[in-house]
């Protein structure tokens, strides 16, 4: 049904749209996505919201040629682990750009794109991808 998984994905909109994560004031660690308990601090956790700048670099990458059904339209696409400037790493697609070399260490910036769609009549799920910048 078009509404399956609706609330599951809706909850993540602020995180996926604008990189809203969290920061533990007790130990200074940054987290994306946000989490309730700091792995370093346990019950001493003092978690507050933090929005990341969107800048980072490529830690590793691959080209996905056999995607799952919901990602077929976009294939083949570059998938990377990006390390944000503020520390946390995340998994995201890198926007294709034949004019730029994409390698470990390439500097990237946040972009807003369609990630998946729940079929013709279902919702469009937007979120983060990254583009290589010089």
């Amino acid at each position: 049904m078009e509404s399956d998984g609706l609330a599951l994905k809706w909850r993540r909109i602020p995180n996926r749209y604008r990189l809203l994560g969290s920061h533990c004031e007790n130990c200074g660690a940054n987290f994306f996505p946000p989490r309730k308990i700091c792995p370093n601090c346990g019950r001493k956790t003092k978690m507050v919201e933090k929005t990341f700048s969107g800048y980072g670099k490529i830690y590793s990458f691959t080209v996905v040629r056999t995607p799952t059904e919901e990602h077929k339209e976009n294939a083949p696409y570059i998938l990377a682990i990006v390390q944000l400037d503020e520390g946390p790493k995340l998994t995201a697609q890198i926007i294709k750009d034949n004019n730029k070399e994409i390698k470990i260490g390439s500097r990237v910036k946040l972009a807003f794109r369609r990630i998946t769609e729940d079929g013709k009549e279902g919702l469009i799920h937007y979120g983060y991808k990254f583009q290589v910048i010089k």
Partner: protein, 343 residues
């Protein structure tokens, strides 16, 4: 007085040449380039749409204006290619730029002039004190029937203006002209738009642009020669130059705005990108005349004057965005616009 506090834009990197489109349909590219004044147009990636481009343009505008997004009191997104028929693009933008939740937002549609009407709405809300900042966006993945004349010019892009007070360019006055004129339309559920061929010219574009412009000039008691720049809606590179002449503007006044030559007609973003292109190079205290056109039909006209503040801002991004490009062929173009589907 309402003022442009910041502007931003987004143009996808991909391009398709007129030659490539003509190749598929067996037409003469030179003749088409000559008659339209367009050599290539922008093409979205398959994971882009009017919402994603609106967000990128809005983010750029907010960075340019250096304002706190939470102070945006209203967001209007004008488009003819909103991703949903019901569920606003404006709330997606609001969430993406972090303006949520204390604001009003709504989508607009009036063919290619929806974005400029959004500017008028923001002006009124700012002037009345209802909001501190308003965000007006025009964004389109311009639609056309494959093989139709519009296939050569329908581009993709978005432009955003942040309206507030005491910005880089004051909006001195505005006037509009609206009638029920069916020159270009798309029914609910139809895959592609339809248009009236030559009817889109005189009774539509030229009538409404000239009437709105004349009304505004009369209201403010200014003449074309008083302006440093003129911006008219750009369905191709010929109409704006012709209407300029009809009104008494020169080709030189219009030239800076003609982004259509490089990216085609971005529909709701068209006049706004023309204006942005002028703001990229304008000096302080220069007068800019803008008249948009939206099929169905109507025109919004504006008189804008730059302030000293324009010199304090880092400009030049549009030129970079226009130069960053990669060409695709007709099949990729159709695939990316979701015209070529596998189900």
């Amino acid at each position: 007085m309402a003022s442009i506090v910041g502007y931003g834009f987004y143009i996808p990197r991909l391009r398709i040449k007129v030659e490539e489109i003509a190749r598929v349909w067996g037409e003469d590219p030179e003749q088409i380039k000559e008659s339209l004044g367009v050599t290539e147009k922008s093409v979205p990636e398959i994971d882009e749409d009017a919402a994603t481009m609106a967000v990128e343009a809005a983010r750029n505008a907010i960075n340019f204006a250096e304002i706190d997004p939470k102070k945006i009191g209203a967001i209007f997104v004008g488009s003819e290619s909103h991703p949903y028929a019901v569920k606003p693009t404006a709330s997606i933008v609001a969430e993406a730029v972090g303006a949520v939740p204390n604001l009003t937002a709504v989508d607009m549609e009036f063919a290619c002039k929806a974005g400029t009407t959004a500017i008028q709405a923001c002006m009124a809300m700012v002037d009345s004190g209802m909001i501190e900042y308003g965000l007006a966006i025009g964004s389109d993945v311009a639609q056309s029937k494959p093989g139709d004349a519009l296939d050569y010019t329908s581009g993709a892009g978005a432009c955003a203006f942040i309206i507030g007070k005491e910005g880089i360019a004051d909006i001195k006055a505005t006037a509009s002209y609206t009638t029920d004129t069916p020159d270009f339309w798309r029914k609910q559920g139809a895959s592609f738009p339809s248009h009236g061929g030559r009817f889109t010219g005189e009774p539509a574009y030229f009538k409404h642009v000239t009437e709105a412009s004349k009304a505004l000039l009369k209201k403010i008691n200014l003449q074309p020669k008083d302006f440093d720049f003129a911006v008219f809606h750009q369905p191709n590179a010929k109409f704006p130059v012709r209407v300029a002449k009809i009104l008494g503007f020169s080709e030189e006044q219009v030239n800076q705005s003609l982004v259509v030559k490089k990216i085609g007609n971005t529909y709701s973003a068209s006049s706004m990108l023309g204006l942005a292109s002028v703001l990229e190079v304008a000096e302080p205290n220069q007068k800019i005349f803008v008249t948009s056109f939206g099929s169905g039909a109507g025109s919004d006209s504006f008189i804008i004057e730059t302030t000293e503040k324009i010199k304090t801002k880092k400009r030049g991004l549009l030129k970079k965005m226009l130069e960053e490009k990669e060409y695709v062929d007709y099949a990729i173009y159709l695939k990316n616009k979701k015209v070529l589907k596998s189900e």
